[in-house]
Amino acid sequence: MADLLILPVLVPLLGGLLATALPVRSALVGTLAALATSLSGLGITLLVWLHGDLGTVLGGWGVPLGIGLSADGLSAALLAMASLVALAISIYAGSYFAGSAQARHFWPLWLLLWSALNGVFLAADLFNLYVMLELLGLSAAALGALTGKREAIAANLRYLLVGLLGSLTYLLGVALLYTAYGTLDIGLLGERLGPTPIAATALALMVSGLALKTALFPLHFWLPPAHANAPAPVSAALSALVVKASFYLILRLWTELFAPIADIGAATLLGLLGAGAVLWGSWRALRAQRLKLLAAYSTVAQIGYLFLFFPLLASLPPGTARDDLFAACVLMALTHGFAKAGFFLAAGLVQRKAGHDRISELGGVAQRMPATTFSIALAGSALVGLPPSGSFIGKWVLMRGAFETGQWWWLPVTVLGTLLAAAYVFRVLSRAFGLEPTPLQFVTNARSEIPALLLAFASVALLGLAAGPVWAILGFGAAPA
């Protein structure tokens, strides 16, 4: 059963190869492969849900020699989110790129990216993670430059170099760990790792490399241009999924592998950077004149919220309170994945229809696309953290944790970030209240509007109303009272 862990990596890889070899049929091959990948990812989630953590070592060599794959609750939760979001993006892309020469380039790269994404979530080997991160970074940069526009190419060139720098730094940390502990397997390393200076140096190298890749303030400089200038499905994938991969790794390293040395001071540093991200990202989003740029800066802010959890996690002993915080952090990451993907997909439709995405001139277009506007409203309310979205619960637990640990100073940051987020979301939404005509149908183009709508809906209703399963799959008994 654990052998099946390879499928979410193998299926999109094979699909990508086939789509490369058959460029004329790439859309068909790609859609089918997307469906199969999504099913395999959800299947693994189901297995973890039913049977608990899964683990296998490829090649039949056992742990120190072979490369391990493992899926625990954290992996499964992110895998499920990626499966659903990426499937929606794939369906949308089928219509977005229809009849365009870009389709044959999009599909193989997109499937390779998806393969790498699943690979990151399932990997149990530090060097394998490096290869996965590089595959992710390369395919993401290539996809981001797909429009061929000058801004897009310049932005993605920078993104590629930043990504390389981040991976190299991470790799140097791996080298130090291998020197000291003689293994690359995360589980085995966890048993051997102690609070030594070498481990501390390695952690700092790995986390700072990954922070560069996950665009933590003030290292976010590459993100807005790269995400705002990519084609809409790619923007959605970059913002919703790709930055989550490196964040996932930071979370895993910080809270599991390096738990013995990840102390409160360093965690507070990460929290401060997160606070900077929340305020600066939200402010820039408020000032943005373009819809996609607004969404990109909002990603910077939302990544910041995730890092606010680190100092709280570091100052709580293992127990229910800490579990709640951890689950809330994951829940916020998942919610942001759904919401931001929905937002970007909808923004792409608006841009297509209007021929531009200047917020001040979007009124009429928003009126003519009710379903898309509604998607933006739903996704926007999830970004603000309005109930019943998942980020509402995330912020609730975050604020409660800040009070419980006496670190009340994260409270004003959260409140101010929420107000700014409401301001930038309503700034977009108020454009939709004109007196321009509306079409008779709610949905005007099902294949591209429905995926966006479903993603936005999931971020608001699915994750918020039923947050219990997130707690359950992470292995935490009950939701917080």
């Binding site: 430059a145 920078r158 590629l160 690359l184 995405d357 200047r358």
Partner: protein
């Protein structure tokens, strides 16, 4: 032991020097070479830790990791170079377009005849840039005009 440290230490120095060059120099080719040097430094460290003393055979695992790492670095370098060339083309054609519009506005004379060799790749393949991509959004002041990595 000391040879091992010498070799690995040299790797770390290469890493730091590569970083410095990457961050300080503006030209993209320099940056690319710099990041390859930094990567080489990391690979040095791996090679150094594979050393098992004069008698024992070296650890094959770091060697294999370095081989993998080199292929990854080659791939990334190739992609960076291709992106860079494409960027230069895009800028050339942008400059061309500017020049053309200027000459057109300066005099009503027909633009100078262009030989086939002068054609830019963008013109060769109109399918590459669809009208949907060339939105007016590019022309707003708000559009990010990110610094190109080499200037």
């Amino acid at each position: 032991m000391s040879a091992q440290f010498l070799y690995g230490g040299a790797g770390i120095l290469l890493f730091a020097l590569g970083l410095w060059s990457l961050l300080v120099h503006e030209a993209l080719l320099r940056k690319l070479i710099a990041i390859n040097i930094a990567g080489g430094g990391v690979f040095h460290v791996f090679i150094a830790i594979a050393y098992r003393g004069d008698t024992a055979p070296p650890d094959p695992v770091p060697h294999a990791l370095v081989l993998t790492g080199i292929v990854v670095a080659v791939s990334a370098t190739a992609l960076v170079l291709a992106l860079h060339r494409r960027l230069e083309q895009a800028e050339e054609s942008a400059a061309d377009a500017e020049g053309r519009s200027e000459s057109a506005s300066a005099s009503s004379a027909a633009p100078p005849p262009r030989t086939p060799t002068e054609r830019t790749p963008t013109e060769r393949t109109p399918t590459e840039l669809t009208p949907a991509d060339l939105t007016p959004a590019d022309l707003t002041p708000e559009t990010l005009h990110p610094e190109t990595p080499h200037g």
